[in-house]
């Protein structure tokens, strides 16, 4: 009954299967990018869109729409989705908890609090003249302020669960402060703030795209290169230590990388819900593995695919009214995740 095991053959077969999924996702990403570029509230023939894309110096409405509106949005959506997924994946591995997402440590609440300060109080009005990136800067300060606090606390506590609770409490704290500001704010300002709170990939400037690409890309590359110790973390901290991983250093890296990615996206696009929580699951299920060497690039691609799709729906469903992206991600994503999990016997 003892079957002869050929580990080499077996791992190659697993690898090949995963490569196929990977290329499928890559093709899907590119396809959705093209669709998002071509579809919009004003429709143009595809050839014209491509010619505008290939000749950036061309004058005219179409060139403006492609280069200033659609292309930045397509790129921001792809990167935003990828980074949120990577961030969620990191934290799920670290906490060994499947219901953890990138915002579990209070990153989005911190961003929201500071954005509420500039959007809801008169404090922000004067600053608007100083910089057009006011909400972005506020979101960034909020997100990284919370991140620094959490990381500082993390170096003191040993237990992951404690840190999780600290992050949650931080979220509640910021949330209550935001509520107070909302209660005191003028009616007209509240709608804009609420919409910001549901996230959107519209209105990205090229400078933001470059920042996203360089900082986020660097972080994702670093995460991929550290997929091996990340795999050791699948077994838990103590096992990881017994395999020779420097736990203290690596824990800080995980928390900082995950928060930095989530903070980067949140400060520019607002808190985009659900992607960071759900995409790692979808990736695990579609690759049939928890191996982070597969999952880091895999979750990034899947994050890009899912977010692009959601952004397409958000823009086109009730065209010309544009829906907030968080509404779409959760509305379509939650049933998919439930379905996938139930199919696998709810074993996550």
């Amino acid at each position: 009954m003892e079957a002869v095991l050929n580990a080499k053959l077996y791992t190659r077969r697993l690898f090949n299967r995963r490569v196929v999924v990977f290329y499928l996702l890559l093709a899907l990403t590119i396809f959705l990018m093209v669709v998002n570029l071509c579809v919009g509230s004003i429709s143009y023939p595809i050839q014209e869109i491509f010619s505008a894309l290939l000749n950036p110096s061309q004058a005219g409405d179409l060139s403006f729409i492609v280069w200033k509106i659609r292309l930045p949005r397509v790129l921001a959506t792809v990167m935003g989705g990828a980074y949120l997924a990577a961030s969620g994946l990191l934290l799920q591995v670290y906490f060994r908890n499947p219901i953890v997402g990138p915002f579990i440590l209070g990153i989005s609440s911190g961003a929201t609090l500071l954005v509420s300060v500039v959007m809801l109080t008169s404090f922000g009005i004067r600053l608007t003249y100083v910089t057009p990136f006011l909400t972005t800067i506020a979101g960034c300060l909020g997100a990284y302020g919370v991140m620094i606090l959490v990381v500082a606390i993390a170096s003191k506590v040993r237990q992951g669960a404690t840190l999780l609770i600290v992050g949650l409490m931080m979220g509640y704290l910021c949330g209550s402060a935001t509520s107070i500001l909302t209660a005191l704010a003028e009616k007209e300002k509240i709608k804009g703030f609420v919409l910001w709170g549901m996230g959107s990939f519209s209105g990205f400037k090229w400078i933001e795209i470059w920042i996203l690409l360089v900082l986020g890309g660097g972080l994702v590359l670093a995460i991929f290169l550290l997929a091996k110790p990340l795999n050791a973390f699948l077994l838990g901290e103590e096992y990881a230590a017994s395999l020779g991983v420097n736990i203290r250093r690596f824990r800080l890296f995980i928390l900082m990388a995950a928060s930095a990615l989530a903070g980067l996206v949140t400060s520019m696009a607002g808190p985009v819900a659900f992607i960071g929580l759900a995409v790692p699951h979808m990736a695990r299920l579609s690759f049939g593995s928890s191996d982070n060497r597969v999952l880091v690039p895999g979750a990034c691609l899947l994050g890009a695919v899912v977010t692009s799709l959601c952004d397409l729906i958000a823009r086109m469903w009730l065209n010309p009214v544009e829906l907030p992206i968080s509404a779409i991600t959760a509305f379509f994503g939650a049933p998919i995740v439930m379905g996938l999990l139930l199919k696998r016997g709810a074993r996550m």
Partner: protein, 405 residues
């Protein structure tokens, strides 16, 4: 110069802030199965975690191959030492083969790519725990026993010379417990691997371990061959459990009774009595039993259960010197019988045991005496059929409860 021992503890004191176990000094070499025994909370896990350098020693040092573990680089230590923890949380969506391959971490390259040699070690680890057929399964879908094998294989794939295991057989049923321990012992001897395993099960430890290490009240209680260390009194003391009687010959643990239900005399011998003794003890009877040769297994079980036993040394042939001794023994038996509330007779005892006529004769006479005293006498049938005794005890219980009502 001889090579340093694989593991050496020098005046090692372990604990978190306050010492849990103090001043441990011992050493052992390769190819040893060392059972670490002690009651819950005695510091077994703390000791293991100190050796695996998860916590720092309070004083003293732990040396592996002559080097202080805290001076060895973590990545180098991981090639010598692997651990199996009590942690039972599982990893979702990971196949057993991939799980075992995680053990190659200290040996594989920067990106964790598996070379031929790594794959070979994974194969051989799965073979060693007899789990090659599980390779394709997801670890979170395995049963406890299967999972533990995979956990063990992962630790093996690390190619350690020393493995620390914290209760590797907890939660497992008898079959898997024995299988895991047998696998571990086999590996110790075939791979020159040493295992230091915290175990709860004194019985298996005494049978399987090459060395036993016992901790009691924050100190090393004993270290050496289990045959020398695990004496009945030492085991009773180790677990602070006066009722537990460890029989070193059988390697079995019996629970003595307080005799609240009364006392029963059992006529057994030639290995027929063990089940009868245990059944009566479980029902709260103190035991008197006879008539055995000292080498009889029944005598061991009865003693471990706290019974008063009557043994006949080498009294097989009737000489005049022996007849005095026989008379004395029978008088003793009568005294015991006077204290008893019932007499249970194992199959074949009263009808005469051909190779032990003296005992049969004594037994027959004792049955007659019991009849005179109007004691309930329960005669048992085929070897393991305890039903007459079970029925009797059941009836008695029912009577008592109706009286109480």
């Amino acid at each position: 110069m001889t090579a340093p021992p694989l593991l050496e503890l020098r005046n090692l004191t372990v604990g978190y802030r306050a010492p849990v176990v103090a001043d441990l000094s011992l050493s052992f070499g390769r190819g040893q199965f060392v059972a670490l025994l002690g009651a819950n909370g005695s510091g077994k896990t703390t000791l293991l975690r100190t050796i695996s350098r998860h916590i720092k020693p309070l004083s003293g040092e732990a040396l592996i191959n002559g080097q202080n573990v805290n001076d060895i680089k973590p990545s180098a230590l991981a090639k010598i030492l692997s651990v199996v923890l009590t942690d039972r949380s599982s990893v979702p969506m990971l196949r057993a083969l991939e799980f075992v391959a995680l053990g190659r971490h200290p040996h594989s390259d920067f990106l964790g790519r598996l070379k031929d040699r790594d794959l070979h070690m994974v194969e051989s680890a799965l073979e060693a725990v007899r789990a090659t057929d599980l390779a394709d399964r997801f670890v979170d879908e395995l049963s406890d026993g299967e999972r533990q094998k995979i956990v063990l294989a992962r630790a093996l794939a690390q190619e350690p010379t020393l493995m620390l295991l914290d209760e590797p057989t907890a939660h497992l049923d008898l079959k898997h417990r024995l299988e895991i321990l047998a696998i571990l012992r086999g590996l110790c001897h075939s791979r020159e691997l040493s295992v230091l395993a915290a175990v709860h099960d004194v019985e298996s430890a005494s049978k399987i371990a090459d060395l036993a290490l016992t901790i009691k009240k924050g100190k090393l209680a004993g270290f050496g061959q289990p045959e020398a260390i695990l004496t009945p009194s030492a085991v009773r003391e180790l677990y602070d459990c006066p009722q537990a009687n460890f029989d070193s010959a059988l390697g079995g643990l019996e629970i003595a009774t307080d005799g609240q239900a009364g006392r029963a005399f059992v006529l057994a011998g030639t290995d027929k009595g063990a089940l009868i003794f245990r059944l009566l003890a479980k029902h709260g009877y103190a035991l008197s039993a006879g008539f055995f040769r000292p080498s009889d297994l029944d005598a061991h079980v009865a003693l471990a259960l706290g019974a008063k036993i009557l043994t006949l040394e080498s009294l097989n042939n009737e000489t005049s010197a022996n007849s005095d001794r026989l008379k004395q023994l029978f008088d003793e038996a009568l005294l015991e019988l006077d204290r008893c509330d019932l007499l249970a007779v194992a199959k074949g005892i009263s009808s005469g045991e051909p190779n032990f006529p003296v005992a049969a004769d004594l037994s027959e006479r004792l049955v007659l005496e019991a009849q005179k005293r109007n004691l309930p006498i329960i005669k048992l049938g085929e070897a393991n059929d305890l039903s007459p005794l079970i029925e009797f005890l059941g009836r008695l219980k029912a009577e008592r409860s109706s009286q109480a009502a």
